[in-house]
Structures are given as structure tokens and as C-alpha cells.
């Protein structure tokens, strides 16, 4: 999570487009990309070269383009931001799908993680508390504060107990965590840290699981009182 790569908005558009083309056809060609992005072939080449330098894509001239694992993770993140925004516009603001999609496209590059999380919170909040009123806004603030009580699993100490609320990861890591039984509502207990301080050992579903702090950071949990 810490090895953040930053690329410009237009490059984000490229990698997003590659992601979609790869999803459809397994591999992308520069021409597909130019067509989809409605740009000239020459500007595609330049962008591809930069993405390849950052090890986000596998690309050599005149060959097909595929995403590296890092590129895939990056693209998934961009797509996720896009989807959150779009869904918010459609479901909460009642914007029609096409317009929402276009707006999301422009905003996805600048929306930070916190803003996005709040938008998701808000959409959920609207669902639970559909009626308006004076206390509505403060109600939302309260709702957010309650959500903020969720902590990352990595912040718990040996002996702490909790319940898993969400796994905020994508791709392989998410799948691995979920396969090991880390799904919403699962109670667990932190047993200990390794002698060098990392990884952690937790007990859940009747077995013992070791995971690095890095992975435990992706799991938000509700801490249970007492030991």
C-alpha cells in the first residue's frame, strides 16, 4: 500500500482504457487504444512509453500491450474510483447514467480516498435515513464518526478481540483474505506479534492465521470492548 506511484490524469485515462480493453480482449493494441481514447496514434506511443517505464504495462513497439501486476492494481484503483463516483451520481443525485459516467471520468483523478469513502458513506446513510429535517446533516456527521470507530486490524494489540467489517483490498490479496475466512461479521482475536514485530497472528473460525501488518491494514474491524 505504501509504494504509491503517481501518474498524471491523462496517463490514468490511458491505463484505465488499457484495463478495459484487456478485460475484453486479453491484450490491447495501440490502435485499439487510439480509437478508444479518440487520439492520434503518435500520442499513444508516448504515453505507452512512460507507462512502460513506470513498470505499469508490458510494452514494446509493434507488440501487444498487457498490464503488469502493479499496473493492474493501479488500474483497478482508478476504475474503482470511477465506479464509486458514477454510482453516487446515479443513485443519490439521480443523474442519468451517461452523464454520470462522463462526469465521473473527469473527477476520478482528483477525488481523494477520504472523499470517496465519504461519498460511499453518504449513499448508505441516505438509504438508512431517507427523511430530511434539521438534524439530518448532523446525523450524517454522527454516522461518519461511528464509521470512524472502525479501526484497521493492524492497529489492534495482542489480546484484542474484534469483528471484521470489510476487506478494503483488490485482486489477489482480497481473494486470499476472503478465502481464509475474512468476511464481514467474522469474530477474531489477535494472539500475538512475531518476535520482530511483524507479522501478526490471529485466531478466527477455529484456526490460526498469520498475516503481515501490510495485509492487516486492508481489513477494517470493529474493536470489541474488554479482553
Amino acid at each position: 500500500m505504501t509504494d504509491a506511484i503517481h501518474i498524471s490524469a491523462s496517463l490514468e485515462d490511458y491505463i484505465e482504457a488499457i484495463f478495459h480493453i484487456v478485460a475484453e480482449k486479453q491484450a490491447a493494441k495501440p490502435r485499439d487504444l487510439a480509437e478508444r481514447m479518440k487520439v492520434a496514434g503518435s500520442s499513444v506511443t508516448g504515453a505507452l512509453r512512460i507507462l512502460a517505464e513506470k513498470a505499469l504495462i508490458n510494452y514494446t513497439p509493434y507488440d501487444i500491450i498487457t498490464l503488469t501486476p502493479a499496473g493492474k492494481a493501479y488500474a483497478e484503483d482508478v476504475v474503482h474510483r470511477h465506479e464509486v463516483l458514477r454510482d453516487f451520481f446515479v443513485n443519490v443525485l439521480a443523474v442519468d447514467y451517461k452523464a454520470a459516467d462522463e462526469a465521473a471520468c473527469g473527477m476520478e483523478h482528483s477525488a481523494s480516498k477520504v472523499i470517496l469513502e465519504r461519498l460511499v458513506q453518504f449513499a448508505k446513510f441516505v438509504e438508512v435515513r431517507p427523511r430530511g429535517g434539521e438534524d439530518w446533516v448532523s446525523g450524517f456527521r454522527h454516522h461518519c464518526e461511528k464509521a470512524a470507530q472502525l479501526v484497521k486490524m493492524s492497529e489492534l494489540k495482542p489480546g484484542d478481540k474484534g469483528v471484521i467489517m470489510a476487506v478494503n483490498a483488490q485482486g489477489e490479496i482480497a481473494q486470499r483474505l476472503v478465502d481464509m475466512g475474512m468476511v464481514k461479521g467474522t469474530p477474531f482475536k489477535v494472539l500475538r506479534k512475531a518476535p520482530l514485530g511483524d507479522p501478526l497472528e490471529i485466531q478466527l473460525r477455529g484456526f490460526l492465521l498469520a498475516l503481515r501488518k501490510q495485509e492487516a491494514e486492508c481489513v477494517s474491524v470493529e474493536k470489541k470492548a474488554g479482553k
Binding site: 502493479a70 467474522t186 511483524d198 492465521l209
Partner: protein, 713 residues
């Protein structure tokens, strides 16, 4: 006797569910180990005859899930989905049913003929866990048979159920695992569509395909795309997925997994009654010592040290036996064959070459005995847990330590031990640095050179420094690799710490033997071939003129009447050695030495060292033996005189000795190790890079050491 009918029985289950022990308990010694095509995942096959059948057992890799995220999962999934098994035996750990049933839910979806083997039933009884078998059978739609692989109980009953299920004598109505309402609606729609494609739905269960499509599974997509139904599916699918995602407000695949876990938990709650909750188990007690903040690391180091001591101390004795056996064999064969090229090829080439490698067998057996013991008790996972942080810092994985430590013994088993690393980048990075862990065969070279050029009081420190230097190079290289060619996320550390169990002697020995057998097979093939090649380049072409000349001189010495018989023999032996050295110079190996002299001159090495280093490509011990031959001092064993000779040779000095030690430490390991590297990496590109990298590192660092040494020593 009438012909038995064959049926294929696949064993599927979680890692640590005792699947392999059960497999061994059933198949006994009828065991075949190979690789699954295209991947470095071991494949175990065996058979057992029961009633009118021959049951061909296939042990699928242990997995927690079959979502095809790893090669193991893909193998297991494909094997069952493509109906290669007539019967699937799902092995579950009865003491950890809740987690084990998650895989069961996925297996059920593939709708195979299945029997559930509830393993470790002896422990279940001991722990007073009550299991409602009737209910469990009803929920899973499969027969559940209690077995204990360790105590060998219930095996007969299991085979009986397998046969009866195969003959359709047991049919339990199987309810499907039901998902959330929203998902079920989407599934119904997809399933309806898929069922219109009769050939496809005859091959794969339409419900399974539908679930997999919702999970965005690549395999399911490619299946669907190849079928006529895709034309209609293509239009409907995005809509179905979009609506579903909108209704669920979370990722569809995630919800599907959640529902499966919910089913597993439900089945567990309904069928299992445990008497003791939250009681401190034996595992807790052991872990509170073994993983203790202060004791954890020292204990880990102690256990590793112990394994080493056992491997190399106890290994020495049988190693001596094997060496004398091969020497004896060599002598016998020499006596049988007439003197000449054939005898030399068989004795000096084949027997000496293969014998040299097989000589390591006791070490390898003991090392693997220790490692399989640690593995099957459950300590190995803890060891990875203890050291992961340190290894993660240099870009490797907690599991990398086993191969790296093994590398101090021999690179061959070390490369093989890298299989436990699933991530390609992690595995290759670990394999690339293993050669820098100074292996046992390099030790004679270090000892010879340190002994010759440094005072005895310093030699132990220098030797320790050499090992340390190798480790530093390994660490820096690992860091370099992980930030360049093997960039990208490393394998996440999400690992079960299995409950401690005392393994049966039989299963540990079996594991050890399997590894040893693979090693021996290599000795019989690759290494034999390599030995022949090395013999050829060292012996050809022959300079006949030299042979005649020395033959005459030796004859003259023997005829000399003035000296004693002893002196005669000595003089003759000296001449023979001189001839061998001259012939060596004339051979391809010698010419190679001369050819590469310009490249190694900057390191202070002359052509004689060039020959030794070239021969060292076959095996590192050969460096010493070759130097012995070249210096015309007779075979190894008289290394003292070689030491003296080296010391007095004006062409050498301590700086060159250090440079040579560094070169031998770092340059490409022996050919058998390289062959194993290639086999395990499976990529020619990687093997070439590995040769290039070790050579470059050796040259550059030797050069630096030579220059620094010349300046200071």
C-alpha cells in the same frame, strides 16, 4: 484373474488436512511422484486394488479455495471441472470443520460424485467434539466417512463408499448452496441461458458456470466465449452484473464468497457440538514459548543450527562409506576393463562424476529428514512467521529462509526447496541468490587457500568472513533484483499456522525418500551426461608424442639399477603426474584455460587457475583436485604439499588467494546445480541470466578484492 476396472479417484482438501497422509495410508508404496505439466507443483499418483476395481489415486494440491489464483488452485479446479476424476474424495480436518467446509462448498458446485473423508477422527473423539453425521450428510449431499490417516482407521469404509458411490448405489439428494436472493435471481437468469447450450451444459454444470461468470472468472469466460451461447450471453451479462452490483452495493465476487462462508459456518453450527471452548490448547502452550518475543529468534537459530549439525556431522560417516564404495567400484571396473580410453571414460568420467554427486546423498537425506520433520510438525510455518520481517526488508519472503539456509549445504536441494514460494518473482529472486550461500563443496577450496596464505591464528576468522561476505552479496543482490527485474508486489504473507502434530515416522521418511529419489534420478541422467562431457574436454585431444616421450623416461627410471624400489616408484609417479599435467595443458580444458587467461589476468589469475576454474564448473571440489594435477603433485589427499607449493610459488600472493576465494564463492555453481536451476525456473532466459549474473558478480568483486588486497596486504 479377471481384469480390474479402473477408476480415477481425486483427493481434494485444504493444506494441513492430512490429505497426503491419507493418500499414503491408502496407496501404501504404490506411489509415483512427478510434476503437473508446465508447473513446479508436485503430482502424487498411486493406486489401490479394492473389490473389482483398481482405484487410481491422484492427490490434488492442497488449497483453501479453487478460485484459480495460484497454479495449485488451477490444477485442482481443472482436474475436477474437466471431469478427469470419477470420484472426488474431499478430505476435511474434523477438528477444523468450519474452515474446511468452505472448500467443500466450492467442490459441491462442480457437482462431482463425491465422498467426504472426515480425517483426524481420532483427535475429534479425543477432544470430545460431537459431529452429527446424518445432518452433515444431508447438508452436503455426500456421504461423510470418519477416518484417521494416522491411526489407519476407517480406510476400508472409505474405499467401500467410494466404490458404492461410483456404482450409483449411494445417491443422496444434493441441495445446492443457496446464495443471497439477489444473486440467486441473477443465477437463475444466467443458468437458463446457459442451459440452452446443450453441449456446453453437458460438459460443465450450468449452475457452476453461472456462478463463475458472476465471479468474473477467466476460465468460465473463455469457456463461454468458445460456445455458441456467447452471442446471447454477451448482451445480457453486463446488464445482469450491473443490476446485481447495484442491488448488492458490494463486489459480487465478494458477496459470493461471504455466502459460501456463511453456509460453511451454518453447517458447522448445526452439526458440531464442542465441549471445550476457549481452553488453552497444547498448540497455545508451545507457541507461547516458540513465538515468544525474546525466545522466538534464538530458538529459531538454535533449531537451524541443530539441523545443520545433524546434516553435516552425521552425514560425514555414510558419506565416507559411499566414497569408498565408489572407489572400490572404480578399482573393480579398472581390473575388469583393459587399459585405454574406455576404462578411463567409465572409471574417471562416469563413476567418479556420478560418485562425487551421489556422495552428497547422506547429507541430502539428513537435511530433508530434518526439514520434513519440521514441516510436518507445524514448526516450519512458525519459522517463516518469525523471520518474515527481516526477509521482507530485503525484498524476500519469510518462506525464502529455508532454501537459503539449505544453500549452505548444497544448492541442488536449495533450488528444489524454493517450490514452497508461489510467487514467481519471490521464487526466482530467492533462487538467484542461493549460489552466494557458500555451499559445502566450496569449503575445501577455502580451506586450501586460507591455509596456504594466512597464519593459522587468523584462518577461522577469515573463513567466517568468507561466509559472511557471501551472505552480504546475497542480501544486496536480493534487494537489487526486487527493485529491478522482479519488481511488483511480492507474495502476501497470509498463512495458516497449523496446529502442532507429531508426525508418523512413516510419513516423514516417505517425504524424505521422495526428495532423495528425485535427486538420485538427476544423478543418473543429467549429471552422468555432464560427467562424460567434462571427462572428454579434460582428456582430449591426446598428445601422442608426449605419451611416447614420458613412456620412455618412465621406463628408463624403472630400469635404473642404482636406486631403491621405493625411489623408483616415486620418480615414476612424479613423471606420470608431470605427463598428466602436460596432457591437461594440451586438452580442450587446458586450451580453454589459456584462452580465458586474458579475461582473468586482471584478477591476478594465470592460465593454470583458468583450467581449475573451468573444471570447477563441473563441481567445486574439482578446483582443488585440478590444481593438484596441474601442479604435478599427484591426486588430492596430499594437499599439504600442494599448500606448501602454492605458498612458495612466486606467482601467488595473499591478494590473489583472496580474489580466488571470492571468485570461487560467487561464480556459477556446479553444472548439476545449474541443471536443477534450469529445471526449477523453467525459463532458459532466467538460466542464462543467472549464469551471467553470478559470473559478473564474481569477476567484479574479485577484481575489487584483488586491487584492495594488493594495496593493503
Amino acid at each position: 484373474m479377471k481384469e480390474r476396472k479402473e477408476m480415477v479417484v481425486a483427493l481434494a482438501g485444504n493444506p494441513n488436512s492430512g490429505k497426503t497422509s491419507l493418500f499414503n495410508a491408502i496407496a501404501g508404496t504404490h506411489l509415483k511422484v512427478g510434476n503437473w505439466p508446465g508447473v513446479t507443483v508436485e503430482k502424487y499418483e498411486g493406486y489401490v486394488d479394492y473389490k473389482d476395481y483398481r482405484l487410481r489415486l491422484v492427490d490434488l494440491p492442497g488449497t483453501y479455495s479453487i478460485n484459480a489464483y495460484s497454479p495449485e488452485e488451477t490444477i485442482a479446479r481443472d482436474f475436477i471441472a474437466e471431469k478427469k476424476a470419477d470420484i472426488v474424495v474431499n478430505v476435511v480436518d474434523g477438528t477444523s470443520l468450519e474452515r474446511n467446509l468452505y472448500l467443500t462448498t466450492q467442490l459441491l458446485e462442480l457437482d462431482p460424485k463425491m465422498v467426504v473423508a472426515l480425517n483426524m477422527y481420532d483427535e475429534v473423539e479425543k477432544l470430545k467434539i460431537g459431529i452429527d453425521f446424518k445432518m452433515l450428510q444431508k447438508l452436503l449431499g455426500s456421504h461423510v466417512v470418519p477416518v484417521s490417516a494416522v491411526k489407519k482407521t476407517g480406510i476400508e469404509a472409505l474405499l467401500d463408499h467410494v466404490v458404492r458411490t461410483y456404482e450409483n448405489k449411494i445417491v443422496i439428494p444434493r441441495d445446492k448452496i443457496s446464495y443471497s436472493e439477489e444473486i440467486e435471481e441473477a443465477l437463475a437468469e444466467l443458468q437458463g441461458l446457459l442451459e440452452t447450450d446443450i453441449p456446453l451444459s453437458a460438459k460443465f454444470s450450468p449452475r457452476w458456470l453461472a456462478v463463475k461468470l458472476l465471479e468474473n472468472d477467466q476460465f468460465a469466460y473463455s469457456l463461454a466465449k468458445e460456445s455458441p451461447v456467447w452471442v446471447r450471453l454477451e448482451h445480457k451479462l453486463p446488464g445482469i452484473l450491473n443490476t446485481l452490483e447495484g442491488r448488492l452495493k458490494e463486489r459480487v465476487a465478494q458477496r459470493i464468497s461471504e455466502d459460501r462462508h456463511a453456509f460453511a459456518r451454518g453447517a458447522y453450527k448445526e452439526t458440531v457440538k464442542t465441549a471445550l471452548e476457549e481452553k488453552k490448547t497444547i498448540t497455545d502452550h508451545i507457541d507461547s514459548v516458540v513465538l515468544n518475543r525474546f525466545l522466538g529468534v534464538p530458538l529459531f537459530l538454535f533449531i537451524m543450527w541443530l539441523i545443520f549439525q545433524i546434516t553435516f556431522t552425521f552425514g560425514e560417516v555414510p558419506m565416507g562409506w559411499l566414497e569408498s564404495f565408489f572407489a572400490f567400484l572404480g578399482d573393480k571396473v579398472s581390473a575388469l576393463l583393459p587399459e585405454g580410453v574406455l576404462r578411463s571414460l567409465v572409471v574417471d568420467g562416469m563413476i567418479a562424476g556420478v560418485g562425487g554427486v551421489v556422495g552428497f546423498l547422506p547429507n541430502i537425506l539428513l537435511l530433508f529428514l530434518g526439514l520434513s520433520f519440521l514441516e510436518s510438525t507445524g514448526y516450519m510455518a512458525r519459522a517463516a512467521f518469525v523471520v518474515d520481517r527481516a526477509f521482507h526488508k530485503i525484498g524476500l519472503h519469510g518462506k525464502s529462509f529455508i532454501p537459503m539456509v539449505t544453500g549452505f549445504g548444497c544448492s541442488v536441494p536449495a533450488f528444489m526447496a524454493c517450490r514452497t514460494l508461489k510467487n514467481r518473482g519471490d521464487r526466482l529472486a530467492t533462487m538467484m541468490v542461493i549460489p552466494f550461500m557458500s555451499c559445502g563443496a566450496k569449503l575445501p577450496v577455502h580451506i586450501l587457500l586460507i591455509g596456504a596464505f594466512f597464519p593459522t591464528s587468523m584462518s577461522a576468522n577469515i573463513l567466517f568472513g568468507v561466509y559472511l561476505f557471501g551472505i552480504v552479496v546475497a542480501v544486496l543482490s536480493a534487494k537489487l533484483f526486487k527493485s529491478t527485474i522482479f519488481k511488483g508486489r511480492s507474495e502476501p504473507f497470509v498463512m495458516e499456522l497449523p496446529v502442532y502434530r507429531l508426525p508418523t515416522l512413516r510419513s516423514v521418511l516417505m517425504q524424505m525418500w521422495i526428495k532423495a529419489w528425485m535427486y538420485l534420478k538427476k544423478a543418473g541422467t543429467v549429471i552422468l551426461a555432464v560427467s562424460i562431457v567434462v571427462w572428454l574436454v579434460c582428456n582430449f585431444p591426446v598428445n601422442d608424442k608426449l605419451n611416447l616421450e614420458y613412456g620412455a623416461r618412465i621406463e628408463a627410471v624403472k630400469q635404473d639399477k642404482k636406486t631403491t624400489a621405493e625411489a623408483k616408484a616415486e620418480a615414476a609417479a612424479a613423471l606420470e603426474n608431470e605427463l598428466a599435467a602436460k596432457q591437461m595443458e594440451h586438452s580442450f580444458a587446458g586450451r580453454t584455460g589459456k584462452l580465458i587467461e586474458p579475461f582473468i589476468r586482471p584478477l591476478g589469475f594465470d592460465w593454470r587457475l583458468g583450467v581449475a576454474l573451468t573444471a570447477g564448473l563441473a563441481a567445486k571440489e574439482v578446483v582443488v583436485a585440478t590444481m593438484g594435477t596441474i601442479y604435478a603433485l599427484g591426486a588430492a589427499g596430499e594437499s599439504e604439499s600442494l599448500t606448501a607449493r602454492l605458498r612458495s610459488d612466486p606467482a601467488y600472493n595473499p591478494a590473489i588467494a583472496l580474489a580466488l576465494i571470492v571468485f570461487v564463492l560467487l561464480y556459477v555453481p556446479c553444472l548439476s546445480a545449474t541443471a536443477v536451476f534450469h529445471q526449477e525456473s523453467g525459463e532458459l532466459k532466467m538460466t542464462l541470466f543467472y549464469i551471467f549474473y553470478t559470473m559478473t558478480a564474481a569477476w567484479v568483486l574479485s577484481f575489487a578484492v584483488y586491487k584492495a588486497g594488493s594495496a593493503f596486504l
